[in-house]
Symmetry: C3
Subunit: 288 residues, 3 copies
């Protein structure tokens, strides 16, 4: 058995569990891509519910395996709402995934993200620039020698590459584990070669199709599907399995699509069709 | 002529009228699925407009044949807004369809749904659990012998089956007719075998494709299309014709789709292509 | 060289620039169609970001080539927000496109549109009825002899034809140029035969597929893509190139689609595939 075969077994089991249990993972997510988030969760085997009210979210948390918060499009009332929800999740030891979309842009977004520092999520899924920016907002530094990337993304697109975000991702994962109430955590940095880390073990996941950058919500919906996986497995496995599921599905869609319109339909079909065996057989490059 | 041939004639006429008149049916609906609601209304032959402001909704009501309210995703300001709109519809004798998404979850949603008790809609379209929960919120009971289903849905999914909701649906339809200002009403319960009732006559509509549960907004968009039909026909016919149109279209899509992504595109195509003759020739099982 | 060959060269260059620079054009747009707006911008070669907060929009404006505001679905808080944003754009000489969806309906929408009179956009993209209604709201008249169209659209659909809107569009373009802070402007009226004018030169653009009226957001997403083009070219060229790109892509989609579901996917594919040479070779009928 190869050194990482236990990881592969746990990934296979996570994939099978999502399909078998259709776990509910609720979302408080942005308006642009929420339809794709829900459809991707359904296509991956899970179940979806969206809300913007604290009372709803607490009620749905009772019946959800995990939750997902995405700060892409904010309304003024969210400033107070989102901090309250993170606090409730903390008190209940609820598992949740944060997508800090456009971290570093906008005073309201920065204030909301800062308010999560004391009630951090189980998993952060972000692009490289957002990962680095979130570390800045939470005061997580790499020591005096480090040189950061830019801490301001180009809108919702990254301007940093995944490698430059790696040390930040590792520190961020350690911070999450130390400060959230479940004391388990992972960080997933999406990019040309995805990076997953729990602060101790780190995996690079090569592959995926470039057309994913030409549909809106590829990253957001991966955040939602990561929450579906988190409902049935530990954070490192959840983040890894969800990203692998995405990469294999996007490659299948990319092989047949004629453009971004057919790509989105093919991608949802491929999420639905891709089997646990294919997902856990993916290339996984571990670095410690 | 079979005993139900008048019903079939009226269904055929309703289908033809939607295509001929492209009636406007406005929506105050949830953010997740509103795009599909609008596209389904257009594909079924109608016309769409969405708003979240009372002044807009009154203005658009002037030019709409019917309206649609869906409480899936709420914002704090809706508490007052939605009651006001229901009251305006009551005073104007406007026809409207309510989709009580996730009825039973969340204090805000419950308060909003309760506020509709005095200004109830023309049609309620819901899943089985939501139908039962709405009866609970409005104090509609089946007498001392009845045993209810669960009155709390599993997020947005039903935990009860259509048969257990049947007596509730009948009482609910009678309540709507007695308390709304048009004194006509129907209730449509979606599920494996749809149920439509006006409190006197009840129809079971078998068929439809299971992939409908793997795309978000199948039920919501049926609510919107029901409003399109309500703009041109009476509530019992509108609810029946819309559900039949959905079932036939979903079967066509299911026969060719490779997964939920292609299913959604095929379903909209099939809504567009399915003819009045096919719709009114569907199986309709009447129970009195 | 034909008289309009310089126009064609500038259109070709604009198309090439959008593909080469992937310009960011941010949007404050309606909830129904914002997903299609973002996907259409990406498919046309640009980049997308959406927000509803003044602080965000100012930050994103720093890195955007142009912005897009669409008043389709409003929330109460937008009344103050949108005027403030228009004022900021005015002070910064930011380029922006306005889509006055449903102009003439609703007191809140009318108040918001009126507040833009002192800080008008660079481009207005609208249907015929909205163009005429916006002139009414801003007090732009055609003199004592003119007879207007209706100034109230049928929901979001036009009740006037493009020809009847032509004199309004010309006056509106002149008003924009005189009152915005960049002193350049264009108006694009979408319809069976699109009309583009900067107040001096006017182009009619025949073609496009009728199925565009059977998907929600065709016009809204054209507004967003017009902003992508405005980020790399002057208003007259931006509005013309974006509309031509849309017409050629919709014709390709219409030739193969089976209904509105496949049409939307094919349309995004065709936006992606259509080349600058095809776009600038389109029929352009100039009237002065």
């Amino acid at each position: 058995m190869s050194p990482d075969s236990p990881i592969r077994e746990r990934i296979r089991e996570a994939c099978a569990m999502v399909r078998q249990k259709t776990p509910l993972a609720q979302s408080f997510t942005n308006f642009v891509t929420m339809n794709l988030v829900a459809n991707a969760q359904l296509a991956a085997g899970g179940s979806a519910a969206m809300s913007f009210l604290p009372d709803d979210i607490v009620d749905i948390d009772d019946i959800s395996g995990a939750s997902y918060i995405n700060v892409g499009t904010l309304l003024p009332s969210y400033r107070e709402t989102l901090e309250k929800i993170a606090q409730v999740f903390f008190e209940r030891q609820s598992l949740w995934v944060l997508d800090p979309v456009a971290a570093g842009l906008g005073a309201t977004r920065t204030a909301i993200l800062r308010s999560f520092a004391n009630y951090p999520p189980t998993i952060v899924r972000a692009n490289a620039s957002e990962t680095i920016a979130l570390c800045g907002i939470w005061g997580i530094s790499l020591g005096p020698d480090s040189h950061g990337g830019m801490n301001r993304p180009a809108g919702v697109e990254t301007v940093d590459d995944v490698d430059s975000a790696m040390p930040y991702a590792i520190e961020l994962a350690r911070y999450l584990r130390a400060h959230n109430s479940t004391h388990t955590a992972a960080v997933a940095v999406s990019g040309e070669c995805d990076l997953i880390t729990d602060g101790e073990r780190s995996f690079r996941l090569p592959g995926g199709d470039a057309m994913m950058t030409k549909i809106t919500g590829a990253g957001c919906s991966l955040g939602g599907v990561t929450a579906s996986y988190l409902a049935v497995s530990d954070p490192l496995i959840a983040a890894t399995a969800a990203s692998l599921h995405y990469n294999r599905a996007s490659e299948k869609a990319g092989a047949v699509a004629k453009g971004p319109g057919s790509f989105q339909a093919e991608f949802l079909d491929a999420l639905w069709q891709t089997q646990p065996d294919e997902i856990c057989a993916s290339d996984i490059i571990e670095s410690r």
